[in-house]
Amino acid sequence: MTSTEEVESISEKSERLLNISMGPQHPSTHGVFRMKAVLDGETVVKLTPVFGYLHRNHEKLAERTSYLGNMPYTDRLDYFCSLTNNWAYALSVERLAGIEVPERAEYLRVITAELTRLQNHLAFLGFLLNDMGVWATVLIYGFREREKILDLFESLTGARMMCNYMRFGGCRCDVPDGWVEEAKRITDELPGVLDELEQLLTDNEIVVARTQGVGTVPGRKAINAGLTGPVLRASGVNYDVRKVDSYGVYDRFDFSVPLGSVGDCYDRFMLRLLEMRQSLNILKAALNELPSGPIINPKAKNRNLRPPAGEAYGRIESPKGELGFYLVSDKSGTPYRYRVRPPSLVNLTLLEDMCVGQKVADVVVILGSIDIILGEVDR
């Protein structure tokens, strides 16, 4: 090959490359997320994520509001899973101020967190299939079941999504009459729904063709990038904060951590289905064993809380990964420094590595399989 031909081929190639911008108004980007992609034909050569469209100064706001006043703002981080956000924040403040939590409150926290995981994964499946081109079937089936869980949240906490339920040293209110029975009924119903979803999806040739071998992340790379949650476990890494830290009363429940083997979109999709079954096991045990007693530590102070000077980090396994809150106190009524470790943002860092070499239509599926919520990514 002569040098002129080489030059020609490079210039030809650069002429072939196409810059496209996906989002921020594109519905498949799950909110206001933008991707700048460089395409060679239909293959992605380069991809730059652009975020910040939903930035609302969450961390600075928290350094201005009281410890209690920040609790409702944490609902709005990952607005699908407000109860796990509440828990992570309450946990870090409890560590900072050294507050004990009564047993019944710990059980209620486990119950609400597992219900949150269930409804998040149901919605996730719907949106992932929506990204693949299923117009609404799975989304509607998922939302039909999610609705029942949201009704439970509403009768317990007063709100369907912005629950604002947990307090430092326990929970805000006790369960209303008949709530536990209703929760048990729904927990007994859900395995049938999961069977139905598995029958609908896991064998489907189109789902298999669209997801297997797409957006593969090897386990080593996933660890290096700091991925957590289902995205990490789909790559075969056994890491679940519920097992590693066993915060709350998770050490009392018998559940296993499903792991993927390849780390592609199919594993990430399948892992959520399997995780929901484990959540149901925990829920069943927790609802049966729910002890009586106070729901909040009577010594715990929520209003005008002034924790001793120091720092604390509380982390939990939220449905999307490890959600952590880092707090520094200077003995005043507001945190000196407040930092959120959002799982969605950290899981998004490998997006380019997952997408390069794939077709542009797969980018949408890969993004859907990470399960991001922009409220948490941008804060």
Partner: protein, 195 residues
């Protein structure tokens, strides 16, 4: 640490297209089932038919008064704790003043900007007098952005009977707390008289 659970990986159905057909069986079951099985028909025709809200459901705060006269029965003493604790700062209170300009224990102005309010109910939790509670109103669209959404004291005041109807459990608890407080005050007064 417990080791991995079984994870299975499928590669389509037994023959090409059988997975899709199985899936279509599920949708068919759901579609036909919605004509016969009420549990598969989950929606209602919304504006005509409305599902009842659970008792704990909350939307925006309102002020409670006892008896028939809103001004006489006002529970709020303008201590301004809710104004201070409200995270988005949507409550605005001004004390009533006597002729010397000294503040009285009554609000002259009590405004809640419900376009800012995020329904967190922290004002309800911190109120020592059970004077503020969460309402269940919804569908509150207005034809202007600011003034109609700024609720004044007159719009916020609602009788205790309304709250009893809204939430029997919470209002009973609040009534019991107020009764106990009143008994304590009366005892104190009597003790003071004797002393």
């Amino acid at each position: 640490m417990e080791r991995m659970a079984s994870h299975y990986r499928k590669s389509g159905g037994r023959w090409l297209g059988s997975g899709i057909l199985r899936g279509m069986g599920v949708t068919l079951k759901n579609w036909i089932g919605s004509y016969f099985d009420p549990s598969r028909l989950v929606t209602v025709c919304y504006p005509g038919e409305r599902l009842p809200l659970p008792e704990n459901s909350r939307s925006f705060p309102f002020l409670i008064y006892d008896g028939d006269d809103p001004e006489a029965g006002l529970r709020c003493v303008a201590c301004r704790i809710c104004e201070k604790e409200c995270p988005p700062e949507c409550i605005h209170i001004e004390n009533e003043r006597d002729e010397n300009g000294k503040p009285r224990k009554r609000p002259a102005v009590f405004d809640i900007d419900i376009s800012v309010c995020m329904s967190c109910q922290i004002c309800v939790e911190v109120c020592p007098f059970d004077a503020i509670e969460m309402d269940q109103i919804y569908a509150i669209s207005t034809n202007a952005r600011f003034e109609p959404l700024r609720l004044h004291k007159e719009q916020l005041l609602k009788p205790n009977e309304y709250f009893r109807e809204l939430s029997p459990t919470r209002s009973a608890a609040a009534d019991a707390r107020r009764e106990a407080e009143r008994a304590k005050q009366a005892k104190k007064k009597e003790a003071g008289k004797k002393g």
